[in-house]
Every structure is written in structure tokens, then in C-alpha cells.
């Protein structure tokens, strides 16, 4: 299968935090959701792909090309939205757009204007006059109006109201009908992901826990609840994390089917949502 983005043991060291030899691929034509707790390295990863941050080692290939050698060519096919949109605050939206437009060969002014009034953004307002939500919308507007093949979004939905989020997700899924397009977006609102994403990558403390199709996560991962402490007796397959409550114990496993067969009948097992998975992984990490 063709990959839009290939990342091979990518490493970046900061004072407080390191991204430890991450490697994963984004298959072409799919939506990849990037989740993980604050400071896990989501933003760092996206900034590395955009070459805003210099990597210490490893390789990033976008559309099969090295992202530094073919920087400008690659970037002209990328639409980006960052968690805090930074534009020149005392410049009007339309002039900002007009300044950016010539950089993109496939910039579509009509589409841009259409989006602007769809999102009910005033063309003649200065950027600093916008609320946070509107800033996000404007940033999205720019990202979507030069039909990019790869769309990178760093928490595009944070600070947007549910109604607009819904519309946005619909819009995204429209865009994704085109098989050529690929999307990577990080978010903390996992319900959004469960609606749109095809693949999920969970990153935690600068390491990738898993990167696999959403469906098989939702099928295979599960929580086992039991009064008795199962851990000492039986060996649970694919144990990820557990929590001892005063009722008994809750265990997250990445292989619920075999777990069900192995574990005695007095325990209940249920499907895990992404939120549960994140919760347990954090817990497991605190236990270890």
C-alpha cells in the first residue's frame, strides 16, 4: 500500500522531553488520528513533519520524498492548521490570504471566498479582532482552499462548538472522498476521531504505543472487570494497563477475544473506547 508519510526512527531531544525513535506510516487516502496526553509529543511530531523543528536523527518522507531536500515542493501540497494559529494580528484577513495565495499553485480563490462566508468570517476584519474559535476557522479556511493532498491538523477542533465541529467533520469526510487526499489530525476529543478516523496512532511520552486501524482497535481492545484479582493467577494476553478499584479490578487488554476465553466466567468484559484506552495506559504507566 502506498504511504503519504513515512517516518523512520525519528528522534528529537529537548531539555524536558525526547521523542524516542518514532517510526510509523500514514497510508495514502486515509484519515490518521493522533491521540495522546498533553506533552506526549503530538505537536512536536507535526512540527517536525513541517520542518519547523530540526530533527536530531531519523528520516521523514512525504509523498516518498525527503521532507528537507524537496521542502518547498512538498509544502505546496500540504495544508496545515496549528493548535494556536499565529498570523500577523494587525493585518486584515483578506490581505493575509492574498499574501499567501501566490505560494500555492493550486490556490482556488473562489473556494476560499466560499469557505469564508460558510464559516461566517468577515474578510475586512483584522486578525486580532477574532475570537479563538474564529481564528481556528480562518486557519482551516486557508488550509482547505488550495486543495492540499496532505492535511496536517494540530487540534483543529479545540475551542470550537459541537455544532461547528460536526459540520467540520462532515466537510472533512467530503474531502476524504477523494482517494488522493490524506489527513493527519491530533485531537483530545476522541468522539470526533471515532466519527471520522480510519487509523489511530497513540503517542505517549514520546513513544508510539500503537498505530493501527480504528476498527480493529475497537474490536480487539477491551476491558475486563472482575471482583477477584486476576493478575496473580492467570496470565492475561495483551495486558496493557489495569486499575484496582474498591469493587475489584479493571484490566485493559489489547486482545479481548482470547482474554475472554482464558478468563473465568465470573468476570465481565466490555469494549474499550479510545478514552478508556488512554486512561488505562496512563494508569499502567503510573503502576510500572
Amino acid at each position: 500500500m502506498e504511504h503519504a508519510v513515512q517516518i523512520e526512527n525519528l528522534r528529537k531531544e529537548f531539555k524536558g522531553f525526547t521523542l524516542k525513535d518514532v517510526s510509523f506510516n500514514i497510508p495514502k487516502g486515509y484519515v490518521m488520528g493522533l491521540i495522546g496526553p498533553n506533552g506526549a509529543g503530538k505537536t512536536t511530531l507535526i512540527k517536525l513533519i513541517m520542518n519547523l523543528i530540526r530533527k536530531n536523527s531519523g528520516q521523514i518522507r512525504v509523498f516518498g520524498k525527503d521532507h528537507i531536500q524537496h521542502e518547498s515542493e512538498i509544502k505546496s501540497r500540504i495544508g496545515f492548521v496549528y493548535d494556536i494559529p499565529h498570523f500577523y494580528e494587525d493585518i486584515k484577513l483578506k490581505s493575509t490570504a492574498s499574501a499567501i495565495a501566490p505560494f500555492y499553485p493550486k490556490w482556488d480563490q473562489d473556494l476560499f471566498l466560499k469557505l469564508m462566508n460558510e464559516f461566517s468570517l468577515p474578510l475586512d476584519k483584522k486578525f486580532k479582532k477574532l475570537s479563538h474559535g474564529m481564528k481556528m476557522k480562518f486557519s482551516l479556511c486557508l488550509a482547505l482552499s488550495h486543495d492540499a493532498d496532505l492535511i496536517l491538523m494540530d487540534e483543529p477542533t479545540s475551542g470550537l462548538d459541537p455544532v461547528f465541529r460536526q459540520e467540520l467533520l462532515e466537510k472533512m469526510s467530503q474531502i476524504m472522498l477523494d482517494e488522493e487526499k490524506t489527513m493527519l489530525f491530533s485531537t483530545h476529543i476522541t468522539s470526533d476521531l471515532e466519527r471520522i478516523a480510519d487509523y489511530i496512532t497513540l503517542i505517549h511520552n514520546g513513544e508510539i504505543i500503537f498505530s493501527s486501524p480504528l476498527d480493529n482497535i475497537l474490536q480487539n481492545w477491551g476491558i475486563v472487570k472482575s471482583e477477584k484479582d486476576l493478575l496473580d493467577k492467570t496470565e492475561i494476553p495483551g495486558l496493557v494497563g489495569y486499575e484496582k478499584t474498591n469493587y475489584g479490578i479493571e484490566i485493559l487488554t489489547s486482545d479481548i477475544k482470547t482474554a475472554q476465553t482464558l478468563i473465568s466466567s465470573d468476570s465481565i468484559s466490555e469494549k474499550a473506547t479510545l478514552e478508556d484506552i488512554m486512561y488505562f495506559i496512563k494508569k499502567g504507566e503510573t503502576h510500572a
Partner: protein
């Protein structure tokens, strides 16, 4: 490249208005007070870089807009090149405004006569480039806070020299002597007969200075994480 310059100009509109206003006032003042073109040259070569190059950098930092600029489909070297070219073109424009002004309103068209001389023009370029060499990379590396640091350094240097002058018992204000030396240097440059060799040297040095500024700034800018 054009699109880059265009971007710079649009993003720094507000700055440009202030700049334009300042320049007009400046020339009016020069002509009105009938200040000698030489002084005005020194003024210009210090003020213009501050207004163009430095302020563009400052704005980019203030709004954290480098995330935007560096995400555009270009590489960072081009961004720096564009910034340098834009500031140069602005500075030249400011000079032209002055020349026109003197041509129209000044009785003895001293500024006009001075600046249309090749030698004089080149000296102006030289001075400006000299200042840019210090300013441009400095702002890129240290940003707004860097300017403050720069001031501190300057003060300490100043104090040291003051103490030295005091100790050596030589008379006169140090800053004054410094300014004098600058003036003398300029006088030397201007009074030197404009032989072919001399002109080529000037041109060469200007070119070298600017290339150095460019390369050094690019070197610094490439090593930044945003």
C-alpha cells in the same frame, strides 16, 4: 522572489505607513534645517536598517508568525534573502524620495547633487551595509530581547572606554571622539578621488558585506526551532 517581497510588504503594512511618515518628516527636517548631506547620510544609514530589517524581524517575533512563514512552501534561506532584498529596496526608495524632495523644494539642490554622484551613493550603501552586518544577524539570533542585551553590552563597553579615557587622561568625550572618527572616515571616503580602482573597491566591499550578512543570517535562522 516577487511573491516573497509582496508577502513581506503586505504583512508589514502598518510598519510601512509609520516608516513612510517618518521618512517624509525626516527629509523635510533635513531640508528645512539645511543639514549637510553628509550628516544626513550618516543619519540615514543608521535609521533605515533599524526601520526596515529590524522591525520586520521584530514583528515576526511579536506575532510568532514564523510558524506561518516557515510553513509556506519555501525554504528558510529564501525567506531571509527575501527579507534582505525587501529592506534594501525600501531603503533605496527612501533615498529616492529624499532626492526628489530636494530636487523639487530645496533651493540649492545639495542633497540631489550629492546623492546622484556614484561615489557618494556607494558610500551611503557602504555605511548602511556596515550597520546591517551587525544588526540583521543580531536580531535574527536574539530577537527583541537580544536588542536589550545588545544595549547592556554597549553600556558596559561605553563605561570601560570612559574609565580608560579618564585613566589615560586624554581629553574629550569618548562618544564624541567616536562620532568624530566616523565623520573623519567618511570624509576620507568622500574626498578620495573617485578613480576606477576606488569605485570598484567600494562596490566590492558593499557586495562582500551584504553576502556575509545574508549567509550568516541564513546560517543562524536555519538553526532555530519554532
Amino acid at each position: 522572489m516577487l511573491k516573497h517581497i509582496r508577502r513581506e510588504l503586505i504583512f508589514n503594512q502598518t510598519q510601512l505607513y509609520i516608516f513612510a511618515g517618518y521618512i517624509l518628516v525626516f527629509w523635510i527636517w533635513i531640508v528645512w534645517q539645511n543639514i549637510s548631506p553628509r550628516i544626513s547620510l550618516v543619519f540615514l544609514s543608521f535609521v533605515l536598517p533599524l526601520f526596515c530589517a529590524a522591525s520586520f524581524q521584530a514583528r515576526e517575533e511579536k506575532f510568532k508568525a514564523w510558524t506561518l512563514n516557515c510553513s509556506l512552501p519555501t525554504n528558510r534561506n529564501t525567506l531571509i534573502l527575501a527579507r534582505l532584498i525587501t529592506s534594501w529596496s525600501l531603503m533605496i526608495a527612501a533615498l529616492i524620495v529624499g532626492i526628489l524632495y530636494s530636487a523639487l523644494f530645496q533651493k540649492n539642490h545639495s542633497i540631489l547633487y550629492q546623492f546622484i554622484q556614484l561615489k557618494y551613493f556607494l558610500v551611503f550603501l557602504l555605511f548602511t551595509s556596515l550597520f546591517l552586518v551587525f544588526l540583521f544577524p543580531f536580531v535574527i539570533r536574539f530577537g527583541l530581547s537580544g536588542v536589550l542585551i545588545g544595549l547592556v553590552v554597549l553600556q558596559i563597553l561605553g563605561i570601560i572606554t570612559l574609565v580608560l579615557t579618564r585613566a589615560s587622561g586624554s581629553k574629550g568625550n569618548f562618544l564624541h571622539t567616536m562620532i568624530d572618527s566616523i565623520i573623519n572616515f567618511m570624509k576620507f571616503l568622500l574626498n578620495h578621488p573617485s578613480t576606477f580602482f576606488y569605485v570598484t573597491v567600494l562596490i566590492f566591499s558593499v557586495a562582500v558585506l551584504n553576502i556575509f550578512t545574508l549567509k550568516f543570517s541564513q546560517f543562524l535562522f536555519a538553526r532555530r526551532d519554532f
